[in-house]
Symmetry: none
Subunit: 191 residues, 4 copies
DNA sequence: GATGAATGAGCGTTCATTCAT
DNA sequence: CATGAATGAACGCTCATTCAT
C-alpha cells in the first residue's frame, strides 16, 4: 500500500466511523483497525486527532466542490445558478450520505464552529461561489435585502434538513422532489 | 431539598454543562457537583446517562412549548399562525441560548435521531400544533403541496440556522430582522 | 481499608516500585496493582503522577526527620551534633534502603532539582537543623570558611555515597565503620 | 560520512539529548534526527538502546581520562597527586556539563549500577589510577585505614556534589573555591 | 434514601524496534 | 548498507457506574 493510499484509507475509515457513530464512536484504535494500519501509524499522517478531523473536512470539501460546480455557469441567470447549486448540493449529500453525516457531526463541534467562522470571513475559495451569487442577487434586487448570513440560512437550512431527513429515511427524495424543494427554498430568498 | 427539586437541580446542571461544553464536557461527577448532589444520587432519578439526556430534552420541551404557544390562536389565519410560531420559536432560542445549544448537541446524537423519529410518527403532543398547522396549510392549498417533512425543513431549517448564527455572534438579530426572517421562511412554504 | 490506609498503601507501593525499578519501572497501573487498588483510585489521592511523586518525598521526610532528630540536642558541642546527625542519617538510610533508593531517584529528576532549590532557599523546616548547625560552625570558626552549599557537599556527599555502596552490597557497614566514616566526613568540614 | 563519524554523531547526539532532557527526553527517533542518520541506522552500531547508553558511558570515559591525567605524575607526593586529580575532575565536569549531567543520569539507572560494580571489581583501567593512589595512601598510612570504597566515597562524594551544585547554579565555583574544596576533601581522607 | 470513594475499561498518544525498499 | 514508515504494546489519565456506609 503506497503512502497516499494509506493516508486515504485512514481518512476513509475515520470519516466512515464518525459518520456512523459520531465522534464518541470513533476512537483512534477503531479507525486504525478499519483502515488496516497500526494505531501509531495514524500519527505519521496526522499530528493528533484534532488535526485528523480537520483534515477530514478539508478532504471532503476538495472532493465535493468539483462535483457540485460541474456544469455551473457564472453567466446564467441568478435563479438558474441557485437551482443548479442547490440541487447539486442535495444530490451530493444524498449520494454521499457518509460525507453528509460527517459534516453534520463536524459542524457541531468546536472545530466546526471555528471552521465556519473562517468561512464567513471569506477566507475559503469554495464557499465564495455562494457568496458571489448571493451578493449579486441582493445588489440586483433579485433576492431579499437581508444580511448574507440570513440568506445563507434561508437557502441552505432547508436543504440540509431535507438531506438529513432523506438519509435517516424519514422521506425518500427523487429528482422531482429535489427540484421542488430547491425551488421552494428559492422562494424563501427571492424578492 | 425535595425530590422534585433535586431532580430539577440535576436536569438544570446537566443541560447547562452540555450546552456550555458539549457532551464531552459534562461528566456525571461534574453534573452532580453543580447540582449539589452526590454522584450516585443521579442514578436514583435516571437509570443512566442516556436516560438523563433524553429526560433533559423532554424537560426542555415542557418549558418551551407553553412559552411559544402563549398568545397563539388556532383560529387565526394560517399565515398569522405561522408567523407567530416562527417568531416565538426564534425569540425563545435567542432568549434561552443554553436550551438552543443543548438541543443542537442533542439532535446530533443517536438519541436525537430516535427522538426525532418519534416526533415525526406523531407520538408527541407539542409537535402537533405544527403538524396541524401544516396539514391545514396543505389541504387549503395555502402552502405548497409537499410532504410534511419537507415543509418542516423549509420552515424550521432557516429558523434554526439563524438562531445558531445569532448565538455564535455571526449576526445580531433584532425584532425587525426576526420578523423579516420568519416572513421569508413563510415565502418558502406558501403557495 | 480506611481512606488513610489506602493512601498509605499507594504511597508505599509507589515508593517501593520507584526504589526498586526507577521511575521507568513504576507505571501507575503497577503501583495500583501492588497497592491493591484500582488504577483510577490513585487519582482520588493524587492529582497526577507528578503530584504523587512529590507527595512521596514529603511523606518520606516526615517519617525520616523525627527519627534522625531523636536524641539530638542543639546544646551539645558542634562536633557531637554533627556526628549524631551524620550517623543517624546513615543508619536511617541503611535501615530503610527503599527510602534511600527513592530519594536518589527523586533527586535525579526535574522535581528533585526544584525541591532542592526550595531547600537551599531555606523554605523547609527539616533541613534547617543542618543549616543552623553549619552556620554556627562557620561563625564560631569550628568549620572551614566555605559557602554553606560546599559544606553540605563535603558533609553529605560521602555519607550518601557510602549509604549507596552499602545498599548495593559493595560494602557492609557496621557501627564502627559508620562512626569512622562520619568522623572522616567531619574532618572534611572542620577547621 | 564514514562509519566512525556516523557512530560519533550518534553518540554525541544521544549524550547531548540525555544530558539536556534525561532519558525520557531522548527517544531514538530524536537521537537519529539530531545525528542526521536514519532511525534504523542506529541499530547497526548499537544492538539496542541499552547498549547505546552503555556505549555512551565508555565513550565519555575515553574522552575524560586523558584530560584529567594530563600533567599527572605518579611520582609526586600523594597529596599533590590527589589534589591534581580532584581539581582536574572538578574542572572537567564544570567545563563539560553535558558529560556530567549524562553521568549523573547514567549512574542512576540499572546499567549505572552494573557499570559501577565492574569498576569496583577492578576491570576498568581508567579507574585504576585512583585505586593505586588510594591503596598507596593507605599502605603508607598517609590516608585513613578505611575500606577503599569508603575512601572513594569521602573523596569523590563531595566533588560530584559541588559539581552538580555549580551546574545547577546553586553556587559558582572559581579556581580558588575549587582548590579549597579539593583540599577539604583531602582532609576527609588523610590521616 | 443519599452519598462519594472505588473501580477498570477505554481513551489519545508515544516510542523502541523491525523490515521492505 | 542505510533508511524511515510501520508497528502495537504500554503509558498516564478519565469517567460512567456501582455499592458499602
Amino acid at each position: 500500500m503506497s503512502k497516499a493510499e494509506k493516508r486515504s484509507e485512514i481518512v476513509h475509515a475515520a470519516l466512515e466511523l464518525i459518520a456512523e457513530n459520531g465522534f464518541h464512536g470513533a476512537p483512534m484504535a477503531m479507525i486504525a483497525e478499519r483502515a488496516n494500519v497500526g494505531a501509531g501509524t495514524i500519527y505519521r499522517y496526522f499530528e493528533n486527532k484534532d488535526v485528523l478531523i480537520n483534515g477530514l473536512c478539508q478532504d471532503l470539501e476538495e472532493r465535493m466542490y468539483p462535483v457540485i460546480l460541474t456544469g455551473y455557469s457564472a453567466d446564467s441567470p441568478l435563479r438558474d445558478r441557485f437551482l443548479h447549486l442547490g440541487a447539486a448540493l442535495l444530490r451530493y449529500f444524498i449520494g454521499n450520505p457518509l460525507d453528509f453525516r460527517f459534516l453534520e457531526q463536524f459542524h457541531n463541534s468546536p472545530y466546526g464552529v471555528e471552521h465556519r467562522r473562517d468561512k464567513i470571513l471569506g477566507k475559503n475559495a469554495g464557499y465564495n461561489v455562494f457568496r458571489e451569487l448571493f451578493q449579486a442577487g441582493v445588489s440586483r434586487q433579485v433576492m431579499k435585502d437581508l444580511p448574507l448570513v440570513i440568506l445563507f440560512a434561508l437557502a441552505f437550512g432547508p436543504l440540509l434538513a431535507v438531506a438529513r431527513d432523506h438519509i435517516l429515511n424519514f422521506i425518500t427524495l427523487d429528482d422531482d422532489l429535489i427540484a421542488r424543494t430547491v425551488e421552494a427554498s428559492w422562494d424563501g430568498i427571492r424578492n
